[in-house]
């Protein structure tokens, strides 16, 4: 009887440990890491329903009037869903150097964050990350693809 109990205790403990250590899903602080797949950069399709992706002009982090309109809608959604925390990703098209595009992507993400915070969203709900030109939505080399890739995209933090 005792050995059976010990056996099941071990199995139970192993199971608990393994569930807690699941690497695919959560990151630190229970962050939603499902978009990262088998690595530490996102892959596949992901986003937050209700939060539009913001688009930018070439070489610019400025928010056009369309971008501002989209951001006002995003603000409304965030205000209505107070528990939702987000990561704003900054992206660039492939033109330009990898290093400069990482910095430009950072400016784009920060620019969007700053606009939302000014409208009234708490900055503790938002974090930013730049991926530069490294994660294009469309890997073609034409104006249409480039326009799609110049974006700030919202991902669910939790």
């Amino acid at each position: 009887m005792r050995s059976v109990t010990s056996f099941f205790s071990v199995v139970f403990l192993l199971g608990a440990v393994c569930t807690g250590c699941s690497s695919k899903g959560s990151g630190p602080d229970g962050e939603d890491g499902s978009r990262f797949g088998d690595g530490n950069i996102p892959t596949g399709a992901y986003g937050v329903d209700g939060l539009a992706t913001i688009h930018f002009d070439y070489d610019s982090a400025a928010l056009s009037s369309t971008a501002q309109a989209d951001l006002k809608n995003n603000y409304d959604w965030l205000a209505a869903n107070e528990d939702q925390e987000v990561v704003i990703e900054g992206h660039c098209d492939e033109r330009g150097t990898n290093e400069y595009n990482l910095a430009l992507g950072e400016r784009r993400a920060k620019s969007v964050e700053s606009y939302l915070v000014t409208l009234g969203i708490s900055s503790s709900r938002i974090s930013t990350v730049s991926y530069g030109e490294e994660l294009p939505l469309d890997a073609s080399s034409n104006q249409e693809a480039w326009a799609k890739n110049r974006r700030a995209h919202f991902a669910a933090k939790k």
Binding site: G39, D59, G96, E99, Y100, E106, R107, K110, V129
Partner: protein
């Protein structure tokens, strides 16, 4: 060479003495003529010998390298091991921009003499066009150790000019070849060669980008990280013992360091925002990096545990890609403060003391990726110009020179002697970027990597002590 002069003067003196003692005494007119010619030959001997200068002139000529033959080593060794040494010397000298290696298929059979009492028949080598000859001996000491003696001979002068003896394990034979190749370069140029230096770079590994290191001839290519994210902007510490880089290992861009063997990866920063491109100071205790601490990437100095020490730039623009001058007094960087990104120089104390000064004056409105040469006299950078092209400029902003003219060429890094640039290039044909090196004096480019995958953001190591 220089030893010729006293010998000729001695001969003249002897002739002069003989004239007055010998039979010419009897004929005064003959004596006067003889005296005249002897004095003339004496004076001619006072003209400086030019044999050394001729060798150096041949080296500096951009079109033709000094021709050197590199036959197999003598000794009791299996030819595969000793061939490691000669193959490496062969490749080193051929890639240096200084030498032309005379191909082994032209060597006269039997010209390479091994065994007791061997002496070199220099005419066997001069007849195939060699002016330099590398020979050597490799002998086993047991326990996997070897003694290697290497010589460089001046074929026309018919004498050896360098002789070195090394002891090595079979793992370090390439080091011996590199060290001897550097001795050859030092003999001809007065400056230590760069053989044995390495390149750190970013390579694609599936959907990820990881840190790689390879020897400067593309051999010993090795992946150092398994961060499963993006690795960016590697750079070497002054001793070559650490490589700093940005990685998304923690799902955010942070600075890390690692050894060139891929061990001891340490995280440096835990900061909100982007930290991109850590350039070591000469002390090895501080970095220059671009950090977006307050929403905008600016240049700061940071210590080895990620504490910000000083703000170098303070603009509301994007400032990035810093590179120290060799004396660390100045910093060159890229900034979009006047619209499109351009290249600026400021004091490493910070631009609040000295206003940043622009040094990129091409027709392009997009110039990035500056790198200050270790010799201090040039800055390399990239401008968009129908693709991306490499330029150099003097630190005062003068003498802008374009080095590439087609395709995409990015991320220039200097060799430690300031004579080569390595950068990533699509060769003007589109497609994946590969690492190439450009010898500035001759304009010759050659591929560096042997990998088929995309390679970028190279950083050339210092010479290893």
């Amino acid at each position: 060479m220089k030893q010729g002069r006293p010998r000729n003067q001695l001969i003249s003196l002897l002739l002069l003495t003989m004239t007055y003692q010998g039979e010419l005494n009897r004929h005064s007119s003959c004596r006067k003529t003889a005296t005249f010619f002897i004095i003339l030959s004496f004076l001619v001997c006072l003209i400086p010998q030019t044999a050394v200068a001729q060798t150096q002139l041949r080296i500096s000529g951009a079109t033709r390298g000094f021709p050197v033959a590199v036959p197999d080593l003598c000794g009791d060794q299996q030819s595969a091991l000793s061939k490691t040494v000669t193959d490496r010397i062969y490749r080193n000298l051929g890639s240096s921009g200084l030498f032309t290696v005379v191909p082994s298929r032209t060597y006269i059979p039997g010209a390479q003499k091994c065994g007791d009492g061997r002496s070199i028949t220099f005419s066997d080598w001069s007849v195939i066009g060699a002016e330099g000859l590398v020979t050597g001996d490799m002998r086993s000491l047991g326990d996997g150790r070897y003694e290697i003696e290497m010589f460089l001979h001046d074929v026309l002068q018919q004498r050896s000019v360098i002789g070195k003896r090394y002891q090595s394990s079979d793992e370090d034979l390439l080091l011996v070849a590199d060290r001897f190749s550097n001795e050859i370069v030092r003999f001809f140029t007065g400056e230590q060669g760069i053989f044995g230096t390495k390149l750190a770079y970013v390579g694609r590994s599936g959907r990820f980008k990881e840190l790689y290191v390879m020897d400067m001839d593309g051999t010993n290519n090795r992946r150092l990280t398994n961060d499963k994210g993006l690795v960016m902007t590697p750079s070497w510490s002054p001793t070559g013992k650490r490589i700093a880089f940005t990685s998304y290992k923690s799902r955010r861009p942070e600075l890390y360091t690692i050894s060139p063997e891929g061990t001891g990866q340490e995280r440096v920063t835990r900061l909100e925002g982007l930290e991109l491109g850590a350039e070591y100071s000469n002390s090895g205790q501080e970095f220059l990096t671009s950090a977006s601490l307050f929403g905008v990437p600016n240049i700061v100095t940071m210590n080895m545990v990620g504490k910000v020490l000083r703000k170098v730039t303070t603009s509301s623009a994007i400032d990035l890609s810093p590179s120290y001058s060799p004396d660390n007094r100045q910093v060159v960087f890229c900034s979009n403060r006047s619209g499109g990104p351009q290249i600026y120089i400021t004091s490493s104390e910070g631009e609040t003391r000295t206003r940043a000064r622009r040094v990129s004056f091409t027709n392009s409105n997009y110039c990035t990726s500056p790198s200050w040469s270790p010799s201090g006299d040039k800055i390399a950078f990239v401008c968009r110009d129908g693709g991306h092209q490499i330029f150099t400029v003097r630190p005062d902003g003068s003498n802008t020179t374009q080095l590439t003219f087609s395709g995409y060429n990015e991320d220039p890094t200097w060799s430690p002697d300031g004579k080569f640039l390595a950068f990533s290039s699509d060769g003007g044909r589109g497609g994946p970027r590969k690492l190439v090196s450009l010898h500035l004096a001759s304009g010759k480019t050659q591929p560096m990597g042997q990998s088929s995958a995309e390679q970028g953001q190279p950083a050339w190591s210092p010479r290893f002590q």
